[in-house]
């Protein structure tokens, strides 16, 4: 049973900020609600107000400006999956968005919601992390732009204050020589939470790998970049033995962050294989 609440649909950002400023902890932003409604139904949240930000025009746009791509917080996964701009300048993100849940979920869920919900298995976070995306946060107190990582505090915990809104997410257009790959593993092909996801971006100079960026989802408490593996590969020639060592570093990092669990015996070899596979695919995409 969903507890009763008042539903507010602000028409513009200012109105939304005012409402949140007034209601604070009593309110929850709803930007699709594919996770929020479940939390309400399970009695995990009991807000007095839901502030629906999906009707605010500013939050519904995908824009290309000053060499960067900006995606409104209330843009849906379906819109991202088919956006020509994102497919051109940040394909890894549209690929990830196209694999989320089901058509119904993709039509409802939004990128802002996916980020702020901060699930360890959030599908858009690994691609956003390798894209080095920034989030624009607005409240009645003003606005700020912060790296996407800093919006995530822990599993299902974002750093947003109750009166703040994630208005947009932006990233620099990828250099045409930078290519990526995204691999998602789940127990079935539709409507399944990722068991593991890997996003890789890199550039190629001859046989060398440059600008290597690797991030993972669903295997660490929060999605994260794999810096050790990245710097191990940076500016190095592409060879399988090196990839193997890098993938082992990823697996060790996973164990370090998540501890040894019953699932580790499965996840450890698989994350190694998939990191290798993702880097290889990214490298091959550059040929």
């Amino acid at each position: 049973m969903i507890p009763p609440f008042q539903y507010k649909i602000p028409k513009n950002l200012k109105e939304a900020c005012d409402l949140l400023w007034d209601y604070r902890e009593k309110a929850k932003v709803i930007a699709g609600g594919t996770d929020l409604i479940i939390a309400l139904r399970n009695g995990l949240l009991r807000p007095e107000f839901l502030i629906d930000i999906t009707r605010i025009a500013e939050l519904r746009k995908i824009e290309e400006k000053d060499g960067a791509i900006s995606i409104g917080g209330a843009v849906t996964h379906s819109e991202i999956a088919v956006s020509p701009i994102i497919n051109t300048y940040g394909k890894i993100l549209s690929e990830a968005a196209s694999q989320i849940g089901s058509p119904q979920i993709r039509n409802t869920g939004t990128i802002g919601g996916n980020v702020v919900n901060a699930s360890p298995a959030a599908d858009t976070l690994p691609p956003l992390m390798v894209l080095e995306a920034m989030g624009k946060v607005v409240s009645k107190e003003g606005e700020k732009e912060v790296p996407i990582e800093s919006l995530i505090q822990g599993p299902y915990r974002s750093t947003l204050l109750p009166h703040e809104i994630l208005v947009s997410i932006s990233f620099k257009k990828l250099h045409p020589h930078m290519k990526g790959s995204f691999i998602r593993l789940a127990r079935r092909d539709g409507m399944a939470i990722a068991r593991m996801s890997i996003a890789v971006l890199l550039q190629r100079e001859g046989i060398r790998m440059k600008q290597v960026r690797i991030s993972v989802g669903a295997i660490t408490p929060t999605p994260q970049r794999m810096k050790e593996a990245e710097s191990f590969l940076e500016d190095q020639p592409f060879d399988l033995e090196r990839l193997r060592v890098a993938s082992e570093k990823t697996s060790s990092e996973m164990v370090l962050r998540s501890g040894v669990r019953p699932s580790t015996s499965y996840k450890s070899p698989v994350v190694k294989a998939l990191v290798m596979r993702a880097i290889q695919q990214a490298f091959e995409n550059l040929q």
Binding site: R187, R188, D189, G190, A192
Partner: protein, 747 residues
């Protein structure tokens, strides 16, 4: 044949597409009280005290019922009546019902249900059947923890293994599976003007429900009326009582309409599951591939209550050899009570589990003998004149070999796929799975009845108690009636699945309705025709022996111009002409010592071929295609049969790869995964129609057979792809990867 083998529009199709079908939860009655069940959160405990005072204070709460309010027998169950509707002094699993709250709103019932205080004295709980059968294990029921032990003995197993030149021995396990039917159980109950208690809800057997509810309330049968609502699948989960007794109890006492709808979480928690079986299987064969001996030991977990545990134990044992001739067979099949969720009927009654074992064994024998898996099956396949493991000699309609031959034709078209250089981590494999399935209940009477009526108004009405649960019995049975009468389908009114208007046809289960009720309808129509001819004879003043019925007309053998519509006979005589029909398949009881006998009148056969792709680095299996060949006797409605097959394959993919109910952890579809449209392979259905002489127009059944060979074929395909076998279902990511790693070590 005008109406048989024809794809007429399925009766429920239009309503389903338009959203006009009324499922249990769609029934609106004026001013109802809503019901909510309060359940045990302990697996095994004595109930010391149930305190209702605080809950009764909740605004809108009308009344709270406990076991003390039950006027009749507080024990239900299809075979052994061991399950209380509301626990009196003891709970046996997490979810056992203790109290029933009736209130003006759903919210009030929920609030009150949280305020009921139950004090327990916990008892040691039993988690596995092995534990349950230990000498000093605490008994879950008065008669102890062994629900049933069934033995089947044919020939001399010692001799059989002595004759064997290769012996394969393994243990296979399967786990709990949920039916995952469409809508959570919901319904309404009220008293009608004639002082009958009416219950409308989804079910697979209105007459069983009527008997249970009547004795539960201590009412005569005729004062309870059960009407089946549209039922979005059931797969065995609606053979047992679900919400009927709760609705009945509240309406009985409150004299007000009541309504309840389970949450999906409740459905997962409290509806029966597929029995987890542990199957120890030993088979022996000669060098030429002929099976000499099969010895099987089956131990199942029926959970807290018996439900269909006995049926599953016996059916698994009877089908243990697979569709093969085996001279020496020994099977012991046991079912034990535990404090786990109760298991019951689910599509196949233990045969999907045992087929996984016998088909794995067949492939392993073939491998050991360096034979083709299809060849070894052909060599051993049952045929006309074969004797089954229960000593039954098969007389007709044994299509297993034909299904193998058709599958072989298909296999020739599948080219070996070279390694994909872009995806070196992918291995492909193909696998075969065969099955047999006895139509109807095992070794017992399972009659059906039907009536066909011509009214003085000229109507033709078919009365059957059959619950169509989406599989299409309404359409198929009308086709049978239409063909036999020679009258258009749309001219025949169908009245079905209502205890007030129809008689007992037995359950929609065991793939039996087409065969058994189909025959009852033919019997009714035969009797109707006789009566029509009697009436027509006096009406037309013609000798009865000169008259016959054809194409819905009374005709004369000599006077060719005579053709009186049968409706006209009723109209002119002003009488209701009624044909009563009855059919009970010819079976014999199985010998209690040796399990020998003829448990079924006929068997369905099938073979599936599955093509899979395995990612050897992640354990992910993709089923690419299933070629599904079924001997159904005769397809009355081919598209309906094909629909059953495709659905069966989809369910088989789930059983093979992902479906796993974990008591205490599985909540709902959020963590119970069934295949989505993206996970279901291409299915190529092939119908073999080896007609069954005793079947209506040659038909047998396909409901359960559709599912059974899929998982075995998929598991054999995985073994083919990775070179190592998986012995535990489901073959999830972890198990497949583990098998890949094992295969690597062995290399």
């Amino acid at each position: 044949m005008k109406k048989i083998g024809v794809n007429v529009l399925k009766l429920d199709a239009l309503d389903k597409v338009l959203g006009a079908s009324r499922y249990g939860g769609d029934y609106c009655i004026p001013n109802p009280l809503y019901l909510k069940v309060v359940r045990s959160d302990k697996p095994h405990a004595k109930i010391v005290k149930v305190e209702l005072e605080e809950a009764l204070q909740v605004k809108g709460v009308e009344r709270i019922f406990t076991a003390k309010d039950i006027p009749g027998r507080n024990r239900i169950g299809i075979i052994q009546k061991d399950q209380p509707v509301l626990a009196l002094d003891r709970v046996r699993y997490v979810g056992d019902p203790i109290a029933l709250v009736a209130g003006e709103t759903v919210e009030a019932t929920e609030e009150a249900s949280q305020k009921i205080k139950v004090t327990y004295e916990e008892l040691p709980s039993i988690k596995t059947p092995e534990e349950a059968l230990q000498p000093f294990a605490p008994p879950i029921h008065e008669k102890g923890n062994l629900l049933v032990e069934f033995n089947l003995v044919k020939g001399d197993i010692q001799v059989g293994f002595k004759e064997a030149e290769v012996i394969i021995e393994n243990t296979y396990t399967t786990t709990w599976v949920d039916h995952a039917y469409l809508e959570p159980d919901g319904g309404v109950a009220y008293w009608d003007e004639e002082e009958r208690l009416v219950i409308i809800c989804p079910t697979q057997n209105v007459h069983y429900d009527q008997r249970e509810v009547a004795s539960f309330l201590n009412l005569p049968f005729e004062r309870v009326r059960i009407i089946q609502s549209t039922t979005g699948g059931a797969f065995g989960g609606r053979l047992d009582i679900t919400i009927q007794c709760f609705l009945a109890l509240a309406a009985f006492h409150l004299k007000r309409p009541v309504k309840m709808v389970y949450t999906r979480e409740e459905v997962f928690q409290v509806i029966s599951k597929r029995h987890p079986l542990k199957i120890h299987y030993r088979s022996g064969a000669r060098k030429d591939g002929r099976l000499t001996a099969v010895e099987v030991d089956i131990l199942g977990d029926t959970g807290a209550y018996a439900s269909y545990g006995t049926t599953v134990a016996i059916r698994a044992a009877v089908h243990a050899t697979g569709p093969y001739q085996v001279p020496h067979v020994k099977v012991r099949s046991r079912m034990a009570y535990t404090n786990n969720p109760w298991s019951g009927a689910m599509r196949g009654f233990g045969v999907p589990q045992i087929a996984f074992a016998h088909e794995s064994q067949m492939d392993l024998l073939a491998q050991a003998l360096k034979m083709d898996p299809l060849e070894i099956r052909k060599i051993n396949a049952l045929q006309i004149g074969s004797e089954t493991a229960t000593g039954q000699v098969l007389r007709a309609s044994v299509g297993i070999r034909k299904t193998l031959e058709r599958i072989e034709e298909w296999r020739r078209k599948i080219l070996p796929s070279p390694l994909d250089s872009k995806r070196p981590f992918i291995r492909r494999g193909i696998g075969i799975g065969s099955m047999w399935y006895g139509i109807g209940n095992t070794g017992m009477a399972n009659p059906s009845t039907a009536q066909i009526e011509l009214s003085p108004k000229g109507e033709i009405i078919l009365y059957i108690g059959v619950a169509d649960i989406g599989q299409g019995s309404d359409t198929v049975l009308l086709q049978i009636a239409s063909e036999a009468l020679g009258i258009e389908l749309k001219e025949i009114q169908l009245i079905r699945a209502d205890t007030f208007l129809t008689t007992d046809t037995g359950a929609t289960s065991a793939s039996r309705q087409t065969y058994i009720t189909g025959n009852a309808i033919l019997n009714a129509i035969g009797n109707l025709k006789k009566k029509v001819l009697q009436e027509a004879s006096s009406l037309l003043n013609e000798e009865e022996k000169d008259l016959f019925v054809e194409d819905g007309l009374v005709k004369h053998r000599q006077k060719l111009c005579l053709g009186l519509p049968i409706q006209e006979v009723a109209r002119r005589t002003g009488k209701t002409i009624r044909g009563e029909g009855h059919f009970d398949p010819e079976t014999t009881r199985l010998d209690p010592e040796t399990g020998q006998g003829s448990p079924y009148a006929t068997y369905a056969f099938a073979t599936h071929l599955a093509e899979v792709e395995v990612d050897i680095e992640t354990g992910k299996v993709k089923v690419l295609r299933v070629i599904a060949c079924h001997d159904v006797g005769r397809a009355i409605h081919p598209n309906n049969v094909i629909g059953q097959i495709i659905g069966g394959v989809a369910m088989g993919v789930g059983f093979a790869l992902m479906e796993e109910y974990d008591p205490g952890r599985t909540i709902s579809f959020v963590n119970y995964l069934i295949p989505t449209s993206k996970d279901i392979p291409e299915v190529i259905p092939i119908l073999v129609e080896d007609q069954e002489p005793s079947g209506p127009f040659g038909a047998k059944g396909v409901g359960e057979p559709a599912l059974i060979p899929s998982a075995p074929a998929i598991l054999n395909a995985i073994a083919d792809a990775i070179g190592e076998r998986i012995y535990h279902l489901p073959a999830n990511l972890e198990r497949v990867l583990e098998a890949v790693q094992k295969a690597k070590k062995e290399d």
